[in-house]
């Protein structure tokens, strides 16, 4: 099959911003990866994606323990007029950098600051609302598809960068996300920083994505650029990390143990 170069690509990055996990990284002795470094490396990765093709699109969503927030693109209300001062300041800041890159960097940095400072609840949680963030990503893909002019085809993928652990309560929502992604032909990739996640393993296997646990956190950017940057067409020609043995066993409803052979109720399918 010839390589069709007229397919643009939409990349959605779902970043786990759990303050507990990132705080723990700061207190580690060798400080492999701090939150600010991660944001910087993510910006380089996003700019590289936008450079791959003129029409490539980007969206970044932050998955926080108590809410999810769109970091980019920032929705501007049509009737909100920007004041003249900020408009001028924005133009002088670009200083020769490609405008789109400057916009991406600035918007993401501002929104992350906004997100962190607005979290005043003081509750500590070890997980983040990942299934909610991925649902929002899928709705965004649906919106972009509807807005496409000339019915141009585009491929979409979701990259999840996750450090905190899974929570079993999100199982059902997560499964819905996986099935919707499969229907929409969206690839889900997972870049795992710390603990293995069986939900994301299943997601990557079902949608033909890549699941990778980063061996060295300080090399995050290198892994992002080499493994997760190529889109679906180019991936076929590259040798990328293959999937490990995935556990598809169901958890029983009484003890939450994974079972090999179990009894399934014929009416409600609980096992």
């Amino acid at each position: 099959m010839a390589y069709r170069s007229d397919e643009s690509s939409l990349l959605i990055v779902v970043l786990d911003t759990n303050p507990v996990w990132w705080g723990q990284q700061l207190s580690k002795p060798n400080r492999d990866l701090t939150f600010t470094n991660c944001i910087e490396e993510l910006l380089v990765f996003c700019n590289s994606h936008l450079m791959m093709d003129q029409r490539n699109k980007l969206c970044v969503i932050a998955a926080h323990p108590s809410k999810n927030k769109f970091l980019f693109p920032k929705s501007e209300l049509a009737d909100e007029t920007a004041s003249d001062d900020s408009e001028i300041m924005r133009q002088t800041k670009s200083d020769g950098q490609y405008e789109l890159f400057a916009k991406v960097s600035e918007t993401i940095r501002e929104e992350v600051k906004d997100l962190i400072f607005s979290d005043t609840s003081g509750e500590l949680h070890a997980d983040c609302m990942l299934s909610g963030a991925m649902s929002m990503a899928l709705c965004y893909i649906n919106r972009v598809e509807k807005e496409q002019l000339n019915k141009e085809s585009f491929s979409s993928r979701i990259l999840v960068i996750k450090g905190s652990e899974d929570h079993q309560s999100q199982y059902m929502n997560f499964m819905m996300v996986i099935f919707t992604a499969q229907k929409q032909n969206t690839i889900i990739d997972a870049c795992i920083l710390d603990q293995e996640s069986s939900l994301l393993q299943q997601a990557c296997d079902i949608t033909n994505g890549i699941y990778l646990k980063i061996p060295q956190l300080s090399g995050l950017l290198q892994y992002l650029l080499c493994v997760f940057l190529p889109d679906a067409k180019i991936r076929k020609k590259m040798t990328l990390p293959t999937n490990v043995k995935i556990d598809y066993r169901a958890a029983c409803f009484c003890h939450r143990n994974l079972v090999d052979i179990g009894y399934v109720c014929s009416v409600c399918l609980s096992s």
Binding site: N142, R249, D260, I261, V267
Partner: protein, 392 residues
């Protein structure tokens, strides 16, 4: 669509002034009111679903296709037979997508007899190849509803009690040629808890309506091709359970997936063991039955060696959205929303339409595109998924 027999036919009912539903806007275009009617119809379908009713999730469905003379008629393009087969191919895919642990069987009505094309089974490829082979078959003779129902019910007799038994008949002719009293057959299949639904392609037929009423099935007559597609899609969702279905616990296995990265040895898989092409199915990849360790390429499947049904957890999860349906969102006028917040929560689009949709549980607002997407395809509200609920 036929009304109930008792209230009378449409021409006997009140005079309906349907032209008053359409209103022109300033530019003289009817598009807005047409869109509104379409949206209302979509939402009505969502709201109509009965809640808290036991559903038949493990389904055994026999699809009976009419291959009589009437199917040569050209009122569907290119003719009824080919249009039906094309829609049925999509139906089969959608059916196994929504009900992965179910089984399907194909039958045809031709020359006053009923023939079986494929046995009840869960293999999609077998059904789609059989449907493709039906394209070249010539339609002739008359249809016989009684023979079809008897053959289908005989095959459904062996199905275990906890699964639902269904027949779907695509009926193109206006008459049926039966060897005996069809009402007795209908009573017999009702006593076996079989639910018979009929989709008519021509006009409403009284005997079809009676059969469906007796067995608690649905009888619909199509208006055009897109209506036909809608009716078939309706059949893919699990129907309410008929009669007393035993709720038993069924023993199932969850096999492990071994990949080439593992240390295991190569072996032959059980699904291709009889095929002449020896290159297929031999290798390290596959799913191993936890009871007898025989290898299979794909799930779900019934292990031929030990009889254990093998599924994977995602297959069961696929049916969860039927059991825990998402509540429809409340319609609110956009003008009521405080101005800076006039954005759809899930896609960040500026809300420009007159109506927005609000989830009852998390109180987030969504645009109409997201509302349709969430309810028809995604079945999960992003706002509720982003909210932390107290641990149950």
């Amino acid at each position: 669509m036929i009304d109930e027999a008792e209230p009378g036919y449409r021409w006997e009912a009140e005079y309906e002034k349907t032209w008053e539903l359409l209103q022109e806007d300033e530019a003289g275009s009817l598009q807005a009111s047409v869109d509104e009617i379409v949206q209302k119809a979509k939402r009505k379908r969502l709201l109509d679903r009965p809640i808290n009713v036991k559903l038949g999730i493990m389904r055994h469905l026999c699809v009976v296709i009419d291959m009589s003379d009437a199917m040569n008629d050209k009122d569907l393009r290119p003719n009824r037979q080919l249009a039906t087969l094309k829609l049925l191919e999509k139906f089969v895919e959608e059916f196994f997508d929504q009900n992965p642990i179910s089984q399907l069987g194909l039958y045809i009505m031709k020359n006053k007899r009923c023939e079986m094309i494929t046995e009840l089974g869960g293999n999609i490829k077998r059904h789609t190849t059989s449907l493709a082979s039906l394209r070249t078959m010539q339609c002739q003779g008359e249809a016989s509803l009684q023979n079809a129902m008897e053959m289908a019910s005989q095959n459904l007799r062996h199905v275990p009690g906890h699964a639902s038994r269904e027949i779907l008949i695509i009926f193109g002719s206006l008459s049926t040629c039966d060897p005996g009293n069809i009402m007795e057959t209908a009573k017999a299949i009702k006593s076996q808890n079989v639910r018979c639904s009929i989709i008519g392609l021509a006009a409403g037929v009284y005997v079809c309506q009676k059969i469906c009423q007796e067995t608690q099935g649905k009888y619909n007559v199509i208006l055009d091709e897109s209506h036909f597609k809608d009716l078939l899609t309706e059949q893919t969702s699990p129907p309410p359970a008929v009669g007393v279905t035993e709720s038993s616990l069924i023993r199932m296995g969850f096999p492990q997936h071994e990949t080439t990265a593992g240390i295991g040895k190569s072996s032959m898989c059980m699904c291709h063991i009889d095929s002449k092409d020896s290159s297929q199915g031999f290798g390290k990849n596959g799913y191993f039955c936890p009871q007898c360790w025989s290898k299979y390429c794909e799930l779900p499947v019934e292990c031929v060696v030990c009889g254990l049904t093998l599924v994977s957890a995602p297959h069961l999860a696929r049916s969860y959205h039927h059991l825990f349906p998402l509540q429809p969102f409340a319609e609110i006028p956009t003008a009521d929303i405080y101005r800076p917040n006039r954005l759809c929560y899930s896609c960040q689009k500026h809300l420009s339409e007159v109506h927005a949709y609000k989830c009852g549980q998390c109180s987030h607002v969504f645009c109409i595109d997201c509302d349709v997407f969430i309810h028809e395809i995604h079945h999960c509200c992003p706002g509720c998924a982003s909210k932390r609920t107290p641990q149950l």
